[in-house]
């Protein structure tokens, strides 16, 4: 990854955090309600149930694939053709979230697969500017076909 690529902004604010150097491992950021202990992704202003302000918090970086699809038609937002997406059950929080999956190895995906978060230059944001996006990739090595 070039230095220039590292400078690209994440596609949207408040979604991804990075751990301490040198690894700076990415993790997802959501919202937490200190009153009822509910978690939200993405973080919104208030808890839907308690109406108190949500605090930002880590949702971790791992999960399990619940469902997936490979989008083969003309992609939006400068995404590659094809690109893959999934609903992932997060390991650390009771959430099932929608996320991109490995943009290069789109076929290497299955329900029940263990995945971990990564970040890469991918497409453009809603203002048309090149950006980085998070995605989930397999934790286990690719299956031999």
């Amino acid at each position: 990854m070039s230095n220039r690529a590292v400078e690209l902004p994440i596609f949207a604010e408040g979604i991804v955090g990075f751990g301490p150097p040198p690894a700076a491992s990415p993790y997802l950021v959501g919202g937490h309600c200190s009153s009822c202990d509910r978690w939200y992704f993405p973080r919104v202003d208030r808890c839907r149930h308690c109406h108190v302000t949500l605090e930002p918090g880590s949702l971790g970086s791992r999960g399990t694939v619940y469902s997936y699809t490979i989008v083969r038609t003309k992609p939006p937002l400068g995404l590659p053709q094809p690109y893959a997406v999934a609903y992932v059950d997060l390991a650390d929080r009771p959430l099932r979230i929608f996320m991109l999956t490995d943009p290069v190895k789109t076929d290497d995906i299955a329900i029940g697969q263990a995945v971990e978060l990564a970040v890469t230059p991918l497409g453009v944001n809603r203002h048309g500017e090149p950006c980085r996006r998070p995605y989930f990739k397999p934790v286990t090595p690719p299956r031999i076909r």
């Binding site: 509910r38 978690w39 992704f41 699809t69 490979i70 083969r72």
Partner: protein, 379 residues
Amino acid sequence: MTAIIGIGITPFGSFVDRTIVSLGVEAGLAALRDAEMPATRVQAGFFANALAARLFGDTTVGQNVVAALGLDGVPVVNVENACTSGSTAFYLAQLAIESGEADVVLAVGAEKMCVPGLGLIDSGSTELDTQLGLVTPASFALRATRHMHEFGTTPRQLALVAAKNRRHAELNVKAMFRKPESVEDILNSPMIADPLTRSQCCPIADGAAAILLASDRVAASLRRTVPVRSAVLRSGAYDGLPDLARWNTDHRTAQLAYEKASIGPADIDVVECHDAFTIAELMHCEALGLCELGAGGALVESGATTLGGRVPVNVSGGLLSRGHPVGATGLAQIHELVVQLRHEAGKRQVEACRAGLAHCMGGDKGGDAKSCTVVILSR
């Protein structure tokens, strides 16, 4: 109680020379003529449209349609509820009559969306999911993948839904796609989002539909009227663990509609449901109680939902083959039920048709729909 006293519909297709207003007026006029009712008798109008603001910068189009029909001054509401815009307009029209606010109300839905550069529909550019690549076909493909995983639904069973609705549309002169398509051709059409091929995705379309409703007192002196037994609108639920294989919002909404109508799924003779994608029809049939959970594939395979079967579904051709002008669809579904219940459907008449159900669903949020409507009519 409320009754339907008049219906109207335009052909669905690509009409570059037509405006939304002219389509809406055509359907509205047809409904007034069908009811033999002068426009000036209408006391309120609910106009459904989903995309005019986004595509053309046009807002409050409803007043243009109602004024063109010769009505001034009456309350008009412009209704946008994604794919349920039309059925939500119907729900509001029925509420206006039930509340005593009006005794003759027109619900019209019109859409013009066959324009260059439309692209894929999504749930809005500010939504995080949209910015991560969620487009509507992917949303349904994710459900198909999970449904196949949990229940063993096969690609062939999905394709059968499209083949069925193509065959039904052959009998509907107003439908967009009226040529039969084999299961093989459907499966071999270009893949949009695994496992949904292009023929398994509903086409965009231009078109309009209109329903004229009235109180029982007004309807009593008219002919060919159809009572409304229930009309229910509900929103989805968003608590962070969406079930992609079971449509709970559908099920909740349908349960309430059945209760209000005092009938059950076994009493329904004909169904129009929101088959935006083949998997959707399978899941809706399960949620509506036409078969067991997970058995939607077996249901379509058995022929039960084909014209001539136990409970024909989407005899009009559905969204898949009639086309999906978004604002008009919810009303077009109800239009079909009325034609069937009046026994005026000709070659696509469902035998001994006494009770019909129209189901519609719209929008996408957190793995669930945003809106769901179920309307039950019976004579």
